[in-house]
């Protein structure tokens, strides 16, 4: 079980979500975040002075998926969240030890 944690452009969120849906990936937790990454390459010039780039609104999607699905999910996010410009985002994969539901007392090892 892995947690795929993708930080993407808010503008691409809808197409990513729809694409994941189409491929049967439903479970996700979404957070509006602010982020900074490769856009450090972006410099805003202001009255001659280069200003440090601030944080930019991003959307973080957390999906816990079975180990086998990790590649698929990453592929879908890349295919649908890409514009090719700095700021498209990052995907982190974290190990998950266990997952369960609140609704029942059963463990939920089979994943989402």
């Amino acid at each position: 079980m892995k947690m795929v944690c993708a930080v993407i452009r808010p503008e691409m969120f809808d197409s990513v979500k729809t694409a994941l849906e189409a491929d049967g990936v439903y479970g996700m937790t979404v957070t509006e975040v602010m982020g900074r990454g490769a856009q450090r390459g972006i410099s805003l010039k202001f009255r001659g002075k280069v200003m440090p780039v601030e944080l930019i609104p991003k959307v973080k999607i957390e999906m816990v998926v079975s180990d086998a699905d990790v590649e698929k999910v990453i592929g879908i996010i890349r295919a649908n969240g890409r514009t090719g410009k700095p700021g498209d985002g990052r995907i982190f994969v974290l190990p998950v030890e266990s997952i369960c539901r609140v609704r029942t007392d059963l463990e939920d090892p089979a994943g989402p």
Binding site: R9, P10, E11, M12, F13, D14, S15, E32, V33, M34, Q39, I42, S43, L44, M51, V53, E54, L55, I56, P57, T83, K85, P86, G87
Partner: protein, 397 residues
């Protein structure tokens, strides 16, 4: 002689119309992406402040100064020379103020076309040129004794001057500045619908001052303008809501857009038509502008916040409807139904000229400003968002 009741009325109406400008800012701000929310509100304030100064310097005189060939006013009243506290019904200075808030609002509406990508310095220059070269002549034509007034065109509260002009100018501006990065493919959902609804509420409220105040008297005509304004807004809201419902879900943004469409359409008509015509005009405008918006989206035009579809097309609808529904018993002029088909023709000509003038001149101004200093922020700044890039501020999550 100054009438205290009328003066009281116009004083307050002026304040109410002033509130429409931040109303537009909040409405627009709620509809853009979060990284440009502050920018939209700030643009509306800046538009208003800029025009307020321009107005007393020369705008008022260009609009209401002694007529020159029916095209523009002379500069006799520049710096408000000779405008005093006396007047006919209301103090002259109050008339200046009342007209000032209209001019400021109109420029704020135009920001729709450049939302999320305009450079603030270029907006200041563009705005100054635009209000001087587009708004002031139009105001002169309709209300300052220009050709349109002489020609008999009816525009009670600014259907052509304010709405057609701002709508088509926003369109021209949008064509010059170009689409937002990613427009079409990217999702660009409203970041704050409650804020947009609040903005809409302030618009609805202020519009009473806008339309009823245009009677320039606290009398039966103002009352007529007031009630038809409300009726058209309500009918527009319900019409858009139901249309959207048939094709999907009845969203609140659609509802408030419909209300604004109704308000726009009743603007030129408010002192000429009665309550039942207002139902028709409001509902018709709701449907018509809904259609215009769908058309705009299908054509891939990024006139981002629909000033064209709602103010521009709603203004056309209203101007023509005025020619159809005007009743002599209310405003002294008959329209088509009341037996005067010529009026509709006059309205058509007026609309045509205003559309052509405002679109054309704005296009030229926008090109010139773009060539000289660049209208648009850099790609990086657009990505980062104008709040940070232009204002150095941001809205927290």
């Amino acid at each position: 002689m100054i009438d205290t009741g009328t003066t009281a009325f116009i004083l307050i109406c002026t304040a109410m119309v002033m509130l429409m400008t931040p109303g537009v800012g909040l409405f627009y701000g709620g509809l853009v992406r979060r990284k440009n929310l502050i920018s939209m509100i700030a643009l509306s304030f800046i538009a208003f402040a800029l025009v307020s100064i321009q107005w007393v310097v020369c705008g008022y005189s260009l609009s209401f100064g002694p007529d020159i060939l029916g095209l523009v006013g002379g500069l006799e009243y520049a710096f408000l020379q000779g405008i005093g506290m006396d007047g006919d019904g209301i103090p002259d200075l109050l008339f200046v103020a009342f007209q000032m808030v209209f001019a400021g609002l109109t420029l704020a509406i135009v920001t729709s076309g450049v939302a999320e990508r305009i450079k603030i310095s270029s907006f200041l220059v563009f705005g100054l040129l635009w209000t001087t070269l587009v708004y002031d002549p139009l105001a002169h034509w309709a209300w300052g004794g220009g050709w349109a007034a002489q020609f008999g065109a009816l525009d009670f509260a600014g259907g052509t001057v304010v709405h057609i002009s701002s709508g088509f100018s926003a369109l021209a501006l949008a064509l010059v500045i170009g689409k937002r990065l990613g427009f079409g493919g990217h999702g660009m959902e409203p970041n704050n619908i409650p804020l947009a609804l609040l903005g809409g509420a302030l618009l609805w409220f202020g519009w009473f001052g806008f339309n009823a105040g245009s009677a320039l008297a606290a009398d039966g005509l103002a009352a007529n303008a007031f009630i038809v304004t409300n009726i058209a807004a309500a009918a527009g809201a319900l019409a858009w809501l139901c249309t959207a419902w048939i094709r999907g879900r009845p969203g609140s943004i659609g509802m408030i857009s419909g209300a604004i469409a109704g308000l726009v359409a009743i603007t030129p008509a408010a002192g000429f038509v009665g309550p039942m015509a207002a139902v028709v005009i409001g509902a018709g405008a709701g449907l018509f502008c809904y259609g215009a918006l769908v058309f705009r989206v299908q054509r891939g035009l990024d006139e981002s916040l629909d000033a064209w579809a709602i103010h521009g097309m709603g203004g056309i609808f209203g101007a023509l409807a005025t020619g159809v529904f005007a009743v002599a018993a209310i405003g002294g002029v008959s329209g088509l139904i009341d037996g005067n088909p010529a009026q509709l023709l006059i309205q058509l000509v007026d609309v045509g000229v205003v559309v052509a003038y405002s679109f054309g001149v704005t296009y030229v101004i926008a090109r010139v400003v773009d060539a000289v200093m660049g209208l648009r922020v850099t790609e990086e700044e657009e990505y980062v968002g104008l709040d940070i890039a232009q204002h150095g501020e941001s809205v927290r999550v």
